[in-house]
Symmetry: D2
Subunit: 367 residues, 4 copies
Amino acid sequence: MAAPTLMAHANGGAIEEPKLSRNFKSDNVTPACAPIMAAINAANLGSVPSYGGDDLTRQLQTKASDVFGREVAIFPVTTGTAANALALSQITPPYGAVYCHQAAHIATDECGAPELFTGGAKIIGFPSPDGKITPGQLASAIAFAEDMGVHHVKPGAVSLSQATEWGTVYELTEVSALAAVARQQGLPMHMDGARFANALVHLGCTAAAATWQSGIDVLSLGATKNGALCAEAVVFFDPARARDFERRRKRAGHLWSKLRFVSAQLLAYFEDGLWLANARHANAMAARLAEGLRSVRGAFLLQSVDANEVFVALPETTVAALENQGFEFYRWPLSAVPAGVAIRLVTSYATPQAQVQEFVTAAQRCN
Amino acid sequence: MAAPTLMAHANGGAIEEPKLSRNFKSDNVTPACAPIMAAINAANLGSVPSYGGDDLTRQLQTKASDVFGREVAIFPVTTGTAANALALSQITPPYGAVYCHQAAHIATDECGAPELFTGGAKIIGFPSPDGKITPGQLASAIAFAEDMGVHHVKPGAVSLSQATEWGTVYELTEVSALAAVARQQGLPMHMDGARFANALVHLGCTAAAATWQSGIDVLSLGATKNGALCAEAVVFFDPARARDFERRRKRAGHLWSKLRFVSAQLLAYFEDGLWLANARHANAMAARLAEGLRSVRGAFLLQSVDANEVFVALPETTVAALENQGFEFYRWPLSAVPAGVAIRLVTSYATPQAQVQEFVTAAQRCN
Amino acid sequence: MAAPTLMAHANGGAIEEPKLSRNFKSDNVTPACAPIMAAINAANLGSVPSYGGDDLTRQLQTKASDVFGREVAIFPVTTGTAANALALSQITPPYGAVYCHQAAHIATDECGAPELFTGGAKIIGFPSPDGKITPGQLASAIAFAEDMGVHHVKPGAVSLSQATEWGTVYELTEVSALAAVARQQGLPMHMDGARFANALVHLGCTAAAATWQSGIDVLSLGATKNGALCAEAVVFFDPARARDFERRRKRAGHLWSKLRFVSAQLLAYFEDGLWLANARHANAMAARLAEGLRSVRGAFLLQSVDANEVFVALPETTVAALENQGFEFYRWPLSAVPAGVAIRLVTSYATPQAQVQEFVTAAQRCN
Amino acid sequence: MAAPTLMAHANGGAIEEPKLSRNFKSDNVTPACAPIMAAINAANLGSVPSYGGDDLTRQLQTKASDVFGREVAIFPVTTGTAANALALSQITPPYGAVYCHQAAHIATDECGAPELFTGGAKIIGFPSPDGKITPGQLASAIAFAEDMGVHHVKPGAVSLSQATEWGTVYELTEVSALAAVARQQGLPMHMDGARFANALVHLGCTAAAATWQSGIDVLSLGATKNGALCAEAVVFFDPARARDFERRRKRAGHLWSKLRFVSAQLLAYFEDGLWLANARHANAMAARLAEGLRSVRGAFLLQSVDANEVFVALPETTVAALENQGFEFYRWPLSAVPAGVAIRLVTSYATPQAQVQEFVTAAQRCN
């Protein structure tokens, strides 16, 4: 079990290891991990300049530039919705279109935040079975828009979820191919990286390769699902693109007076590869879950398990039995399930291996 | 010195007493106080339902209802700008006017957040020397709007800052008189309570008397300046008015997945009167500062010191000398200062009495 | 040929009959018809109260109430996009969803106007081959939204295009069935009636039956495509729903100072059944076109021709030959055409029968 | 009397001369003048490309470039509110400030349209007795904003009303001085020219000198108050600044399908100096009114009568008597009137000299 190792990072001492739970609902039901909690506590001293004028926020700029292999502009915020919607508002005009997958968080899970922050841009989602969009879909949507001219929203930006909402991960070549279409039209590329670390450890490449070297202009970097208390960030790979972004963050109510407490989390997140260690554990738990479920009669993996989510179809009786035993997960509204009921299982940095084993065993027995 | 007393609340143990500083710039340069930090640490255990489905958030509803003496709907957020702009968006139509003081935070310090969240409402500020607006100003603005009809924005809401931006506090009768004008026109009353606790201890009344019993419909309750790490809340005194507010918070990116960490802060804030103790100390330090400055030659108190802010005019040489000695504060852009330079000094829950004494002594010497 | 009959309405005298053209691109390439032009000229006298305080605008309220068989609130504007976006802004919250067909004008042809005026609502389009949405699609989208809770936009309104973008017309029972689903959820029903008169003459029912008696709450009534110079209107069947709508119109820049000139057009439009006569002619020309095309080899009608639009697939060579002869129409981007090229042909109140005959003959010859 | 001369332009024949009225409420209570009505009628022929693809709209680009002495991009719309709000939305970011006079139309008479179209920019009005703002006010507001940094809206644009809301006209040197301050900060200059022609004939300079040669970047050009039926325009003096403006107009519902009818009005407006002749007459009538009122006992001219508006204080008894005789005008809410009641009298292209004489005589008698 990996979690104890992670706990060894802790210097706060007071943080106990998460209790064994039966919760696979989301990676956002987790506590903050020990090193991050320690960093928050350590930041809580003295009179410190507010609104990001502090040392930790300054250090974060340097640290993030190291992590991404070039000078970046990084803006801490505290929700993924804020990161996404603010990032898009910076790169899309109010009369623009943002192209993404139909199931993208920006399209279905943010209650219209991108529309609010962009001033009314249209989020146009493409369907696909694996959560990834294709260069063909993108090119065709752009061609349609050009044909429609002034009557239609103007192609504004492209947004990829990495990892996707279906737990899959775009290969670097897939990202590059989409970026090539976008570049031809002058469209900036956004990456919703709520689970970026999970994607990164799957790809096994550098953060640079996964982003700007593949054509990404701005990244919503998530940490909350992967061990932070409340830390996300908008990262611009060309700082010139971030002009006035400060004001967008402020007028959205997302500039903290005590910003050091978010910056501290992100510093700890990057420190000693904590973000990768956490994600590696989460991914490993998902892989083990998937592996275990293969031996369950009637189980059918619905997606490739690239990151920390498992979409699986199970017989209705199995699902009900697992629910009765207190396992928590979402029944997932999928239109095309070969048989049984589709459920989503999410693992996290804090999922003990024993919890996975317990679930698999229960599924086998229920069957 | 009161700070040690406050520290006695701490159960986390690890938090040290703030170092003596020379910083009077704002009450937002402070750390989180010990009981609040302890509450955050205590909340960091186990798999917990996200997005406010947790126990702490539930307890907060009850606790806040106790504190305000009636059933309220309370929504934790993490910046005062978010609290204000979201509250106003709930009560003002996009073609509406919000009446407030010219120097109100919503008018000058939020980079257009109220405009963004309301969808374009107009913030109309009235001038006055002490930061308070009057029933006459309000009535006259409403009359003008009615005269203009459809061409002008529609009277939408009234917003009072309590304490005001000038460190003064509306008497309850002043609030009631404004609410009477508003009620006649069907306008809801908002209170920007970024420093509500400071106002409350000055008034010496109940939280109920200071708000809904005086005609307030919705309160932006600040805690960050008064000892929290990141905790503000929107409080509706009639829960029916909060219909769909959840969605407004979500689409502004202000619904935390790990909301328990904000709720925990607010619970600790209310517990054992921590909020009042903190504010009482801050106010006492401001009073002592004002008292000390009276003996400084050429000093001229510009406003009544009702809460934790001191606006004082000092000779330019004195101000420069204090700055040279490392004291930090803002030179304040006031149009009508009798002589010298206007500066603002802010005290907080964490201001040691010695820091005040040091400043007064220095001011006397510089003179 | 009906056009001469229509011309007989003219009392201005100066207006000549439209020249025979080869233009089938849209019904918006037409001039204003004679009676409407005469009404504009007649309105051009004297000092008249501005902003709708005039007699013609007052008369329009009465006239429209007569036409729709109940007291309505009618607001003249001058583009269909304005009518739609303003209507939706009145009935949908900014965090709401508007359900419509994927090809609805509000979804694809208004460059984000509904998003702008509603403050960011999401337009959710359903696919279907004939331009109509179904109660099942609506119910399922609402169920999805409810399942998603605060994370998704809230069901806000339903919008039907009548006639549809594919030239088909909802039967009254189809409208009622959709309204029944909407009513169960408290969702208001909007009708985009850019070609409402065309639908009405197809249905052969009263304007009341086609709208509020079938569950419609607000109608965008088009006249520009059907003989007006610039006249559309938003019609609320319950005037109480129109509260503050005046301000929405004003702040969108759509309240004319010389509003009498739009009201005059709408009065003339309703007078002596001009709107129905115009639409009847347009529909008849489309029917005749469809009939004629049946005899063209390789022609394939793609939609039922219920109103004044014909969607037909023709061999590429035929299409090219027609274009070369100066016939104007749009090649239509349809995903599933059995063979050849899909084109759209639109007829209008001003399409002479000879123009239709000429086209059919040419198509037969090209073949 | 000048009106008959204007009528000589008419070629439509059917338009009668405006009846003598007693209406001085506004220049928007007027009919359309004969040449413009004739142009509308003349444009009403044949199948014409929609949405501005027509010849008249093309000719207008050339004509406007001639009129302004350089290549401009001109966009016809149909209300002044639309022209202003769209123009500002093109040059101000949503987190920006627009500096103008407190009484500017954009600040008080447009129900929040600039806020809607800019996505929430803040309209900041400066006070002054004559309706003009000063370079000092502008510089000081910009300095305040810079001092406030990210917390305040960013200086975005400057908007001058020419003629002003008080019937005065900025001298060219006054415009240039303001533009110099703006240019230093990179702020674009907007001119609200709802009564631009009136200002122009007062200044006696070229349209070029009054606008871009004095530092104006974009002009809202009004024609409706000066003889059009419904014609305003947004004029960009650097066409590169107009990038994507087409989409802003479309998504605001201000792109007409039958745009030729607006373009035709503007072409006629410029033709043979009609706009100047109309404005010259209106101004002359205002001057005569002012001259006549000097001889009225107790009358006090409140502003310089530079254009076509007269602000005058008269004894309450005189005002009441004039009202009783059927003269129409607004009592104006001025805070500082030396004595009596302030009223506003507006003349127009259609005000007969006899109407002015009648008013003056009546005022003398009432006295």
